[in-house]
Point group: C2
Chain length 232, copies 2
DNA sequence: CAATTCCAATATGTATACAATTTTTAATCA
DNA sequence: TGATTAAAAATTGTATACATATTGGAATTG
């Protein structure tokens, strides 16, 4: 479901990529967390060689940041990056939705419906991280239907980064993706209404964007004095 | 000038990335050419470890294709991929041009003028591969001016891939980038006319797209060490 | 002679060992 | 005590060795 962001690395490497990616997307690995090569290798039972390849692949999809001689960390997008990612989504995803509306088949529609149902179920059961992943999956599913590899790659990457951004900057956990917009999109798709799909998707992305909290979050204090933060 | 497509790998790795990328962009390495790890390592005097990292990075930017247990090859975009890349460019680059027109400074303008002059000089001297690289550089320079990292990354990647596509599918070598469009863009930038810049850029990309030839091309890869030897 | 099978040669996948860098800890001195 | 410095520990960068998979060709067979 969420492959191919990477340029298909060798078997073991890909497994580790997907595993770490999933963990990041489910917010099980917090932004900024150090991903030590030895530690990761120990966990998966492989050598550092494989781990390095996986971490590099994740770095290319902007989920991990690698600092020279210092190691890999779960990416921690800045506010600026957050805005840029959603600006890019606001440009690209409406165009993709338009393509999808023209190309969609009844089978695709059923798949989207199932997706939406799973999303609702997760929301109802209060499993927010799962709901968030599914919400992103809805967007990538649309890209898959559009069947445009270049756009799909871009959308997948942007969705991944959005997950990280939402972890850091969402006002409330529920802001993830109000299913209302997704439902409206479904209707447009059912009618093969490309113009409506494009319009709805654009509004939806803009809503998501404005649902972000503009205040800079406190980055983990570097020094102790800053942590105590009294004498400024 | 053409960095940052990669997630900044370690020193040696980056050198090799840039060297191979340059060679590919200058059409010194033909699409489909095998990039043997031993051979590349021999040429640059490094171990396969470093070469693998470089090749993986290049694979992530779609300049190289890695086939499991089979090795790395200079990417050979399909006709479909060619169309998709230019469709993506037609969507993204006009938006970027619009941003650039709003943000451009006199210093930026001078830089673009110099770029354009160099492009003309290369064309006049008949150095087509250089002209092609400079032509791509003009587009990435615009992205840099727009100062939007996410879009810039996308544009860089698309421009790189376009170079490969042009190597395979351009009708004639001169089709690369008629400087006329670039000149018209310059005027719009000079006037800070964002709407015009967007419009001109869109037309320009569409022209480039329709300048592609639909026939599959044949190519005979030259010796690897010979091609790279010149680039180093 | 063509097709097939098997083995050798070659290349990539992975693990491990060593080198270089950074971070931590301890010790020294003002 | 606090700051500075130096040694030690830990981590990443790189090279090499071994394991595994692919490729090419010789020998065999029909």
């Amino acid at each position: 479901m969420l492959h191919d962001v990477f340029a298909l690395p060798s078997g073991k490497t890909l497994d580790i990529c997907l595993s770490i990616q999933t963990a990041i997307l489910e917010h099980k690995l917090a932004p900024g967390l150090k991903l030590s090569e030895d530690e990761v290798g120990e966990i998966y039972g492989v050598s550092r060689t494989v781990v390095r390849a996986a971490l590099q692949a994740l770095a290319h999809s902007s989920l991990v940041t690698i600092r020279k001689n210092r190691g890999a960390f779960v990416a921690k997008p800045t506010m600026r990056e957050a805005h840029e990612v959603f600006q890019a989504r606001a440009l690209i995803e409406p165009a993709v939705a338009r393509l999808a509306a023209d190309a969609i088949t009844p089978a695709d529609l059923d798949l989207l419906k199932a997706h939406l149902a799973a999303e609702h179920a997760a929301l109802d059961s209060g499993d927010m991280s799962k709901a968030l992943v599914l919400s992103g999956g809805f967007h990538t599913a649309i890209a898959d239907i559009a069947d445009h590899r270049v756009f799909t790659g871009m959308v997948r990457s942007l969705i991944s980064r959005s997950s990280l951004i939402i972890a850091l900057y969402s006002k409330r956990s529920d802001t993830a993706c109000e299913s209302h917009s997704h439902g409206a999109l479904m209707d447009a798709f059912a009618d093969n209404d490309a113009v409506a799909a494009e319009e709805i998707q654009k509004s939806h992305i803009i809503d998501l964007h404005s649902g972000l909290d503009l205040r800079e979050k406190e980055s983990d204090p570097k020094s102790l004095s800053q942590a105590l933060g009294l004498a400024v």
